[in-house]
């Protein structure tokens, strides 16, 4: 598949936008400016960017507790995102959900999720609805290696294959479920192997390489759109930071050398050097992209900080749908 120059740049931009968003969000959490727990996506950007460049606004995604990157890549509004992290009324969820429930239903982003393994079953429902409503929309379910051990994943995989639903299961295998290494939480090395048990294709791809992800996701998404059923796409990737927050080095459950090894294949640097080789992006242009997103992020943070908190009465609003909405 020939990937256009525009698409390559688009993927690159989405990755840089995620990285910038996440690094700044991490600082805000460390300094105590945003409350609660942030699960940051740094290191895994190629997965979101490679997949999302195939999706339209009407295509849905289900996300995880590590959900900022998915929403940023789907075109999320950074102002509303930061405002949500700050618990402000201008946030995506009016401050009610926070990082773990960030969502944009207009963009088909059906929510980050605090429950590991919640996404796959939601995704089959959305995919069922896509077909029922006679659309050719596709649903992409992002989930982790850890989540692939929840019963919900297996039930969803079976039903998706049985009903040939327009859904793609994208496993972000970053090697850890919280603080437990993959080989200590499952006996398989390749989660894609599990696809065979449900009667769907299983594909493994280098999750640090946005181009590889884009190509594999393209096939799976096209297959789903044509009504040929689901695919399980496993992206081998790595989380640079700790499970929560920004600390990634000097933790007890992995060696720093392993982190440094993965960082050598940083998805953004990899893309920058490819684009440079092909004469698509100069060093100056790359720097300008980073600076541009940093400016967008700073503006979004300023917006969030200037936004009001919800009124106390808002606590009791939005619990039920009423005639008024």
């Amino acid at each position: 598949m020939e990937i256009s120059r525009e698409t390559l740049l688009d993927m690159h931009r989405r990755m840089v936008r995620i990285r910038t968003f996440e690094e700044e969000a991490g600082k805000l959490m460390e300094s105590g400016k945003v409350p609660g727990a942030l699960h940051l996506y740094v290191g895994e950007e190629a997965v979101a960017a490679g997949v999302m460049t195939h999706l339209r606004d009407q295509d849905q995604i289900t996300s995880t507790h590590r959900g900022h990157g998915h929403l940023v890549a789907k075109g999320g509004d950074l102002k509303k995102m930061y405002a949500e992290l700050y618990g402000r009324v201008t946030g995506y969820c009016k401050g009610k959900g926070g990082s773990m429930h960030i969502c944009d239903l207009d963009l088909g982003m059906l929510g980050a999720n605090g429950i590991v393994g919640a996404g796959p079953v939601i995704a089959i429902g959305a995919a069922f609805s896509n077909r029922y409503r006679k659309t050719d929309n596709v649903t992409v379910c992002f989930f982790g290696d850890g989540a692939s051990n929840e019963g919900t994943f297996h039930e969803a995989a079976n039903m998706a294959a049985l009903y040939k639903l327009p859904v793609v299961f994208v496993c972000e295998n970053n090697g850890f479920g919280e603080f437990t290494r993959q080989e200590r939480h499952q006996a398989v090395h390749d989660i894609a192997d599990r696809a065979a048990g449900y009667g769907m294709p299983g594909v493994i791809v280098d999750g640090m390489d946005a181009i590889a992800v884009h190509e594999a996701a393209g096939e799976a998404i096209a297959r789903a759109r044509r009504g040929l059923g689901p695919t399980l796409l496993e992206c081998k990737t790595y989380r640079y930071f700790d499970h929560v927050g920004v600390r990634g080095m000097g933790v007890i459950y992995r060696d720093d050398s392993e982190v440094l090894e993965w960082r050598k294949r940083d998805p953004i640097e990899l893309m920058e050097s490819r684009l440079a080789e092909q004469g698509i992006l100069s060093a100056d242009e790359a720097a300008a992209i980073r600076a541009g997103f940093l400016a967008e992020v700073r503006e979004a943070i300023a917006f969030a900080e200037a936004s009001p908190f919800p009124a106390p009465e808002a606590l009791m609003e939005d619990i039920y749908t009423t005639a008024a909405g």
Partner: protein, 335 residues
Amino acid sequence: MTTTEAPVARELTYVAAVGEAFGQLMREDPNVFICGEDVSLYGSVFGVTRGLLAEFGPERVVDTPISESGIMGLGLGAAATGLRPIVDIMFMDFMTVCMDEIVNQIAKMKYMFGGKAVLPLTIHTMAGAGSSMAAQHSQSLEAWFCHVPGLKVVMPSGPYEAKGLLVAAVRDDNPVMVINTKTLLGMRAEVPEALYEIPLGKANVVRPGTNFTIVAIGRMVSESLKAAETLAADGLDVEVIDPRTLQPFDTETVVASVRKTHRALIAHEAVRFGGIGAEFAAQIQEEAFDHLDAPVGRVGAPFSPVPFSPVLEKEYMPNADRIVSEVRRILGKQA
């Protein structure tokens, strides 16, 4: 049972008290093991199992996949065949993922089998809001489990209770759910070093008083003590009772108190509607109707999911101030 003649008590945090109890229980009984997500190598995200792996090894301190049904089922099957498992479910909210195992299997196996099965199983978890963890990491769902015959439920209010109730839970030959409160984990109190049991089903009069009874559970016990101080200035002598065990509930101690004070209020952090306070209030008025000078009051969270924003969460959280105003409201309503 094994309280020593002169128990050595030191100040411990809640986390340390739980950790100490786990270690001592495992030393006492080789059939006790603990399993759960990140309990072994990492020592639990709350730190309660730190150090256990080094002493007891991976056969007895078992890291599991993220598979709550599997974890709960493992505990169930192991308990039914002679072991004494402690199953850790990291956040109480995740209990929903293994409801079949808890409600349809664990709670009922003994009864369905005509009394033949014995399930000495402890389910250990963390509940409660207060740290902007939002709607799926903050719930207090104790009332659900108190509603299921076959389960026992305890809710410690501090480090001393945490250790003593955990010991009683693990030694009990029935499934017992131990519901800890996250915001109490840093709390310090005197805790005896020896293994001691707090008997299940027995309430504790935390603060004796003569003319008002507050029945509080979990974090609301310390909030009620604060409220009692404030109310003392109004000339009210509040008795604070911590049931410690919610199922079975010590109706007797509570009713005896209400017969003396003639007024009562129940305080919990869970949503008020359908909360365990409704049951307690019903028991009080069934057993002590003639002694009541006012309706039994209840303080609990509003009927809302737990919000993320600190401003809203503050609005959500029941606290000492709310107890004080509810007590004053009740006094204003007296017949």
